[in-house]
């Protein structure tokens, strides 16, 4: 077996096998010359061995970790807001969203005391689903930014 790397072998290799060949080519002038003679663009494969500066890598980690937030902090709030809206409206409770006019809800019964829930409007568009089950009218309001 030749101690030198056949450029066609390098051309066909991938993954770790390719890396081993590249490390040899990087250190072997004869193999670099052979690769250049075969196809000089093959020499750019040696860039795989160049490490990225540690300062750049650390900066990426720090910036990313500073900007992420726990997903559990926001998602359940949305679910709570939407669920509360459903329960409240199904029970005949009205929700007042400034700038938002829901479909009028038929009062279910005078026996159900009315109550008001204050909801701070979010920046996102509200989606409304309105349907009736038996004698109960259900209005679902979904707003990703809803804060109860």
């Amino acid at each position: 077996m030749s101690p030198h790397v056949d450029p066609r072998e390098l051309d066909d290799a991938s993954g770790e096998a390719r890396r081993v060949l590249l490390e040899h080519v990087a250190a072997c002038r004869a193999c670099r010359a052979a690769a250049a003679a075969y196809d000089p663009s093959l020499l750019f494969a040696l860039l795989a061995l160049a490490p990225v500066p540690a300062a750049v890598l650390d900066a990426v980690s720090q910036d990313v970790l500073r900007r992420i937030e726990p997903p559990s902090r926001r998602a359940p709030l949305r679910a709570v807001a939407a669920a509360a809206a459903v329960v409240a409206l199904a029970s005949g409770v009205s929700i007042f969203l400034p700038g938002f006019e829901p479909t009028p809800v038929t009062p279910l019964a005078a026996v159900v005391p009315r109550a008001d829930v204050d909801v701070a409007p979010g920046g996102a568009v509200s989606q409304v689903v309105d349907f009736t089950v038996g004698d109960t009218q259900v209005v679902m309001v979904y707003n990703a930014e809803l804060q109860l």
């Binding site: 093959l42 160049a50 500066p53 980690s61 990313v64």
Partner: protein, 189 residues
């Protein structure tokens, strides 16, 4: 070195919102992401921005990742798409801008041996300058296949194109680079 089981556990934990696990995942994959982005966008500061965007997106969508699939392929896809979007936003008609002569200086050179270090710095500068002539997809294929060392079928999965299209892009990219090297650096070959 982590095996696939470790990686899957890390992904599962990070997807559940475990920030420590996500930090480990970032450390494990950041060099690959930055290097790929750098070779496509051609500037280390821009590559850093692209990499940050990639990992922030990863944090948001990780829970959708199917553990039956190969994570690296998925991550390469997010990275390459982000890098191509970046250069399309930056350059006219989707092509890269020529880079300054010293653009490659910010990629560190590696061991071993001073002559290799010198060669590699020159090699990096030359690649960044000549690759500016490639279309973004051609450049992405060249970087994934030749520098990242992916198989043709994995490059096809990353870019969501056929293997024959990968081979065609690679053929064109290598022809353009080969002709440029022979024109500008006849001493190489």
């Amino acid at each position: 070195m982590r095996d696939d089981l470790d990686l899957n556990e890390l992904i599962r934990s990070a997807a559940r919102g475990d920030q420590r696990a996500f930090e480990d995942l970032v450390v494990l994959k950041r060099e690959r992401v930055v290097r790929t982005a750098f070779q496509i966008v051609g500037d280390m500061e821009d590559a850093r921005d692209v990499a940050q965007g990639v990992f922030l997106r990863l944090w948001r969508v990780l829970q959708r990742f199917d553990l039956e699939r190969r994570f690296d392929t998925w991550l390469y896809r997010i990275t390459v798409n982000a890098a191509i979007d970046f250069i399309r936003d930056r350059g006219p008609k989707g092509f890269l801008q020529p880079l300054p002569e010293d653009a490659g200086d910010r990629l560190a050179s590696a061991q071993p041996g001073p002559d290799v270090v010198v060669d590699r710095e020159r090699l990096q500068k030359t690649f960044l300058r000549l690759a500016a002539a490639l279309a973004p997809k051609q450049r992405a294929v060249f970087v994934l296949k030749e520098i990242e060392g992916l198989d043709t079928d994995e490059v096809a999965r990353v870019l969501d194109i056929s293997e024959s299209t990968v081979r065609n892009h690679l053929h064109q990219a290598r022809r353009i680079l080969r002709e440029a090297i022979r024109r500008e650096h006849p001493e190489w070959s």
